[in-house]
Symmetry: C2
Subunit: 252 residues, 2 copies
């Protein structure tokens, strides 16, 4: 396959993830969403609420990939510094986005206090940015060039991803087929290696588990080529059966 | 506080995380465990099963931190390349560790097939490594210098962390106190900023949520100094109360 592969990086920003207090849900949801867009998530970095560390991660991943996403740090409080850090990374000024201000004015018009100075922080963007709609709460996400700044709260992130669905150029989606076996992966390691070698457009991942007191493994075949995928899946299914390991379609 | 801060990096290895198929649980569990050891998790990188990418992340984070942990890629299959990648990063040969071989021999002695060539892969270590006990399944984790290679399956990782508890030198644990409010964080952003400024040995994180149809936020005060933490927590509690936001101890 000489097809162009589109990639994205993700920077998850927040001390709350690094302290173990909050379990990240955005890596999995951004990863799964990117798959559907035909874009491969190439790397994730989780960094603290420290400007230099955000700048470093953003610059490393935006230059290495077609797209860069961030989650977290775009709220109204003093520890929300993503906009400043990304503006610094891109060498842009931070400005108030007039449309974001109008959105926040409408959103807070019937709420106590109205659009305070702190809330207006959520209209700050790197100069030249566009907005990503947020149908869940007032504050929009931000797009500037190939960089997309999204909320950290997972259901708000989900709404922003939804708004971006189908708008990004991507390659052929990575297709996958999964099968499982109630077999320790160490028993089929040689077989997997052999099947993968015979199908160069495919990759096979092996994911062991321990369930109901028994060991097993799921095997995920991935390819951007549907025919190659089907051929590899057939070969793996047949090889497992012949070796006495009844495969379960779709995984266990 | 001039106290030395001990830091760790974590490299999560695996295509299954980057594809969104598997939800990572190791970041949170390693982060929470490190807190208790008095070690701060400074950065996490999630990288694919590609040797160069693992080498790059391992070298970046082991030199920037006191400790480096990896999860994933130490099983028996062809996609388990963490040992090779870390050996390459450290400039070491890969060798069979005699004690690991003995552990695997015992573990597989009454299992069909015994210690096959594929299973013996799990005794491969970078030359000079020690083992990390694994009480869940046969294959041990690996320690070499300040680098710790652990399993990817979360309950096995947990057992390895348990075996390491109390064995690593760390600084004063980062203490924290949490309080919550049924108040939008945008209403208290100014108050938070003011309280944090008045307590320089403390950091305050603000974590908004949406629950039971209402918005609220938890505030986490962190410090390595118990007295400073208590003073800051009292100040924040009093300031919230005075502003009419009844704080809830321990968070919501």
């Amino acid at each position: 396959m000489s097809e162009r592969i589109w990639t994205a990086g993700l920077v998850v920003i927040g001390d709350e993830i690094l302290s173990g207090r909050t379990h990240d849900k955005n890596i999995a949801q951004v990863a799964a969403w990117l798959q559907v867009q035909g874009i491969r998530l190439a790397e994730v970095r989780v960094v603290p609420d420290v400007q230099d560390r955000i700048v470093e991660a953003v610059n490393a991943l935006r230059s290495a990939n077609d797209y860069l996403f961030t989650t977290g740090g775009i709220g109204p409080t003093h520890d929300d510094i993503t906009v400043d850090a990304v503006a610094a990374a891109l060498g842009r000024e931070v400005v108030i986005h007039p449309e974001a201000r109008a959105i926040l004015e409408r959103y807070y018009t019937d709420k106590p206090g109205g659009l305070t100075e702190d809330r207006l922080r959520m209209a700050r963007v790197p100069d030249g940015a566009e907005l990503i709609p947020n149908r869940m709460s007032g504050a929009p996400g931000i797009r500037i060039g190939n960089v997309f700044l999204m909320a950290g709260v997972p259901h708000i992130t989900a709404g922003m991803l939804d708004a971006l669905t189908g708008t990004l150029e991507g390659g052929a989606p990575l297709l996958s087929e999964t099968m499982g076996c109630w077999t320790a992966e160490s028993e089929v390691a040689g077989l997997l290696r052999k099947v993968e070698k015979a199908h160069e457009d495919c990759q096979i991942g092996s994911y062991p588990f321990f369930r109901e007191g028994k060991v097993g493994a799921n095997f995920v075949i991935r390819s951007t080529d549907a025919q190659a995928l089907a051929a590899c899946a057939k070969d793996l299914r047949d090889s497992l059966s012949e070796a006495g390991h009844a495969p379960v379609a779709g995984g266990i």
